[in-house]
């Protein structure tokens, strides 16, 4: 069983009016692990798709956009302006412009969580970003760690496979323990495997090992956040935002409750791209 495999998603606004006659803009975020496509109709969320990145960035971009457009009657020609972002942003074949993921995440989080958000933690597949933004969603500061996969989604996937726990169950499992353990001594993906095996050998339950790992990851990203500066309101985006085991521990360490959204937390970058696409289209038309 592939314990690391997370659930892909597709969403369409059931109440959206027909897109014909409106302005359709889009954003595509090609990350190292996941790819998202977001479509906006007159600046409002219309549809999105979130899937695993394939071996080829242009194909992943196209695949994600096709999933988002499926059943809507939209074609690539109907997208008035598209922004590519993320690690593979220059490889979105139908993008009109590429914009850095830092800028797009801030803008997307501003839409997802509202204009009060000032600190964003984006926990991606292979990196982690602390972003400060203003009331308009413009970036005021950022700090990124992509030195290694420790403390990222990929690290969590490795632990899921090692302990034979579906990656989406890690959060609830790690929160089911009665007493919080010490964090694992190292959250390097390689050394964490050794540490986890050793802890299991001395009798720790899987839940306790997961709690120790989630806590170590939370401590690591809180250090990044604090170095960049933490100002309320605070929100977490990216795949690990869905892992309550890490998210709750980050909140506990910061003493701040993160803002919540019903939408997929992984779409922030692509959503920001689609919003910026709307701005750029207006500029072009002016």
């Amino acid at each position: 069983m592939d314990y690391w495999r997370w659930t892909e998603s597709v969403w369409k606004d059931p109440d959206a009016p027909d897109w014909r006659g409106g302005t359709v803009t889009a954003g595509v975020d090609i990350g190292s692990t996941s790819t998202q496509a977001v479509i906006l109709l007159d600046g409002k969320l219309y549809a999105y798709a979130n899937m695993r990145t394939g071996s080829n960035s242009p194909d992943s971009a196209l695949d994600a956009m096709n999933r988002a457009m499926e059943g809507t009657g939209l074609t690539l020609e109907d997208l008035r302006f598209t922004v590519g972002t993320g690690y593979g942003r220059v490889n979105v074949p139908f993008a009109d412009k590429s914009v850095t993921e830092i800028t797009c995440h801030a803008r997307g989080a501003h839409y997802l969580y509202g204009p009060t958000v000032r600190t964003i933690l984006d926990m991606g597949g292979q990196d982690c970003k602390a972003i400060g933004c203003d009331a308009k969603g413009a970036v005021t500061s950022f700090m990124m760690n992509d030195k290694c996969a420790a403390g990222t989604g990929r690290g969590m996937e490795v632990i899921a496979n090692l302990l034979a726990v579906p990656v989406e169950d890690i959060g609830p499992f790690s929160l089911s323990i009665e007493e919080e353990p010490e964090p694992v001594s190292s959250i390097c993906v390689i050394f964490a495997k050794t540490a986890a095996t050793n802890l299991m050998r001395v009798g720790w339950s899987r839940e306790k090992v997961l709690a120790a790992y989630c806590l170590a990851m939370a401590i690591r990203v809180v250090r990044l956040l604090e170095r960049n500066g933490v100002e309320e309101d605070f929100a977490i985006t990216g795949g690990i935002a869905k892992n309550a085991g890490v998210a709750r521990r980050i909140e506990r360490l910061l003493g701040i409750t993160a803002l919540k959204t019903d939408l997929d937390t992984q779409i922030a970058g692509a959503l920001g791209g689609a919003l910026i696409a709307g701005d750029l289209l207006k500029k072009r038309q002016a």
């Binding site: 970036v139 005021t140 950022f142 990124m144 992509d146 030195k147 990044l224 960049n228």
Partner: protein, 94 residues
């Protein structure tokens, strides 16, 4: 914007910080040629103003790339990049 480029690992915290608000107003952009290792490049910010950043491929290697400018003894008050900047938009965490 305050942009931090670098990393933290078990040996320390290694970030080069650029105040892009100041940088955008600079007309000289001396950092681009002032760094002996050529770590700086110019890229458009959100308002399409050219600002300095650290080259993507160098961000995880700033510790070693900057080592030559940071001798253990007799480290200068201002590093070559800071001297070249002139508007105090560049700081180092270590």
């Amino acid at each position: 914007m305050i942009a931090h480029y670098g990393f933290e690992d078990g040996t320390g915290v290694f970030y080069i910080t650029i105040d892009t608000g100041r940088c955008a107003r600079c007309t000289q952009k001396g950092c681009k040629t002032g760094c002996p290792e050529g770590l700086f490049e110019l890229e458009p910010d959100d308002e399409d103003m050219l600002v300095a950043s650290i080259k993507a491929q160098a961000r995880n290697a700033v510790k070693t790339a900057c080592a030559a400018c940071k001798p253990l003894e007799g480290r200068p008050k201002s590093l070559p990049c800071q001297k070249a900047c002139g508007i105090e938009a560049i700081t180092h965490s270590w």
